[in-house]
């Protein structure tokens, strides 16, 4: 684990800051989520029962079928969507879904990114720079509630 910036080969979307949900596991909106409740629902998934809403998912690989391409868009329409998804390996569907659903995405690193980002850490995803990095506490965004754990920030630095 480190605060180093990790550069990806593939990137899309806007800059986002938020809390990371990290697991060396796959991702499919169809297979893994209860999209009505906004939680991981697949019993065998390492993030089962955890809310993904407004979180930055840091996962190993995109899995399963083509439905995710529509589902990210549908989830975005209800504001029940992750802020960003970061993969070691992406498939075409997740990228297409991110494009339609306006979800920031990074994929393809020289390291196992799930081993570099601590679960629960506040991170910045910057698609323009193609990077993800762990924030230090003095970089956390300010919120009116004082709770920075689920705060997301879109837009330029």
């Amino acid at each position: 684990m480190s605060n180093a910036s990790h550069k990806s080969r593939h990137a899309m979307g806007k800059r986002v800051v938020g809390q990371a949900l990290v697991a060396h596991d796959g991702f499919s909106a169809r297979y893994d989520l209860n999209r009505l409740e906004g939680v991981f629902s697949r019993p065998a998934h390492k993030l089962v029962n955890q809310s993904y809403v407004d979180k930055i998912l840091v996962l190993d690989t995109a899995k399963g079928g083509v439905a995710t391409a529509w589902m990210l868009h549908e989830m975005r329409s209800r504001n029940m969507v992750p802020s960003a998804i970061v993969f070691n390996t992406v498939n075409t569907i997740l990228a297409q879904g991110a494009a339609l659903g306006d979800v920031s995405m990074l994929a393809g690193f020289d390291v196992d990114i799930t081993s570099q980002i601590p679960h629960g850490a506040m991170v910045e995803v910057d698609p323009e720079a193609q990077t993800i990095r762990v924030l230090s506490p003095d970089e956390y965004p300010q919120t009116t509630s004082g709770d920075a754990s689920t705060r997301k920030v879109h837009g330029p630095k």
Binding site: L33, A62, K63, G65, A67, W70, E74, S77, V90, G97
Partner: protein
């Protein structure tokens, strides 16, 4: 991305707002994958059930259709819908689901899309041929077309497949390129499956070993050429478990007549897979005996599968619902040959134009009390856990027996 004159005109809006919307989406995806340019495609196949689309997706489609700009430029067809309208009450589906389906169908039709509603178009509509560039949007369709037919497609999600239909092209990346079609992992089968569930289980194992979309497994050691239905279950499960879009079977599939054809002569055998591995995968799901429902779906059944099922149903009376789901192209023959009657006389139901997991599976489970589900589809068991089911994998014959007795033996 390098755009030709026609593509630049589309991007500038000279071909209308629909083509502009489509090509902008395609460029966003193409840039993500570092596509250099576009490649023309001859067919598109769209996955767009309304459980996936949701209200937002249907509105997006309606907005495109409302532009009245002529719609798709190439033959563009659809994956299964979220219902069989004639059997919706049996499935416990609510009117709002059906209304959303009707709106989606109306929008697609206005865009010139042909509502084939099938995930086995390679068996029923028109199989893509070797080196034919297509934009297919069901993982089972893609892996079969790429691997068995030698066609060239990425997994194209609904928005991208529709965009390909609307522009007649797709970004040239992934499996459109020779470089991605070489084998990356070499696996030896020590055993050749006999039943469709075992073919699916073997596909699931290979998919898990391959691990991600960009891996291309080569499998050797099979003692015979599989049938189309066997390859259908094998590929669909591989794509489901592993997100695999292309496999090679040594001496069987067209691009791998020799190991060296796909670079596998330079790869060591990384894994050996045998009957015990297949049984272990099935045992992993065999957590209960009693069942609530039997489902044959994912992929839709061919006429030969329905023929086998009809034979197994003879003389039986089911205690539990048995659903057999096929395509609108196969269903008339199933009726005409008397298979539907034989299956339904035993208490089963033949449905058409849908697929079980694409039909509001969570709501069906809650409404109908279906939780423990027996199927011969490895793909289906892989999917349904996330929908709250306890899915179990068994042969078609074992599933039919379970419908009669209420339990898997």
């Amino acid at each position: 991305m390098k755009l030709n004159d026609e593509e630049q005109a589309m991007l500038a809006g000279e071909a209308g707002i629909v083509a502009k919307t489509a090509i902008e989406h395609q460029i966003k995806v193409g840039k993500f994958f570092h596509a250099v340019d576009f490649v023309p495609v001859t067919q598109a196949h769209i996955m767009a059930d309304t459980e996936s689309l949701g209200q937002a997706g249907v509105v997006w489609l309606e907005r495109l259709a409302d532009a009245n700009e002529g719609g798709v430029r190439i033959p563009t067809i659809t994956d299964p819908r979220g219902t069989d309208f004639s059997k919706a009450s049996l499935l416990g589906q609510a009117e709002w689901m059906l209304e959303l389906e009707r709106r989606a169908i109306n929008a697609f039709t206005r865009l010139g899309v042909s509502m084939t509603d099938t995930c086995i178009n390679y068996q029923t509509v028109l199989q893509a041929t070797r080196d034919e560039h297509v934009a297919f949007g069901d993982t089972g369709v893609v892996v079969y077309s790429n691997s068995v037919g030698g066609a060239r497609s990425n997994f194209e999600g609904g928005p991208s497949a529709l965009s390909a239909g609307l522009t007649g092209r797709t970004p040239r990346y992934g499996y459109h390129l020779d470089a991605h079609r070489q084998a990356t992992i070499r696996i030896k089968a020590d055993w050749t499956p006999k039943t469709l569930d075992d073919w699916g289980a073997l596909g699931g194992i290979v998919g898990k070993l391959a691990g991600n979309y960009w891996q291309v497994p080569l499998l050797e050691g099979l003692d015979r050429a599989p049938t189309s239905d066997e390859l259908k279950h094998f590929g669909a499960a591989m794509a489901s478990f592993g997100s695999t879009a292309l496999f090679h079977l040594l001496g069987i599939t067209p691009e791998a007549q020799r190991l060296s054809d796909v670079g596998a002569d330079k790869l060591p055998v990384a894994h050996r897979v045998g009957e015990k591995d297949v049984q272990a995968l099935k045992n992993h799901y065999a957590v209960e005996k009693d069942i609530d429902v039997v489902v044959f779906s994912a992929p839709q059944l061919s006429i030969y599968e329905l023929r086998d099922l009809a034979t197994m149903c003879e003389g039986k009376q089911f205690k539990k619902p048995l659903l057999a789901i096929t395509s609108p192209q196969v269903k008339p023959d199933c009726d005409r040959f008397g298979y539907t009657q034989r299956i339904e006389e035993a208490g089963g139901t033949v449905l058409s134009g849908m697929c079980f997991y694409q039909s509001y599976a969570r709501e069906m489970s809650e409404t109908k009390g279906w939780k423990r589900l027996a199927t011969n589809s490895a793909k289906l068991v892989n999917i349904l856990g996330g929908y709250g089911y306890v899915p179990m994998l068994a042969s078609m014959n074992e599933c039919v027996e379970a419908a009669q007795t209420g339990a898997l033996q």
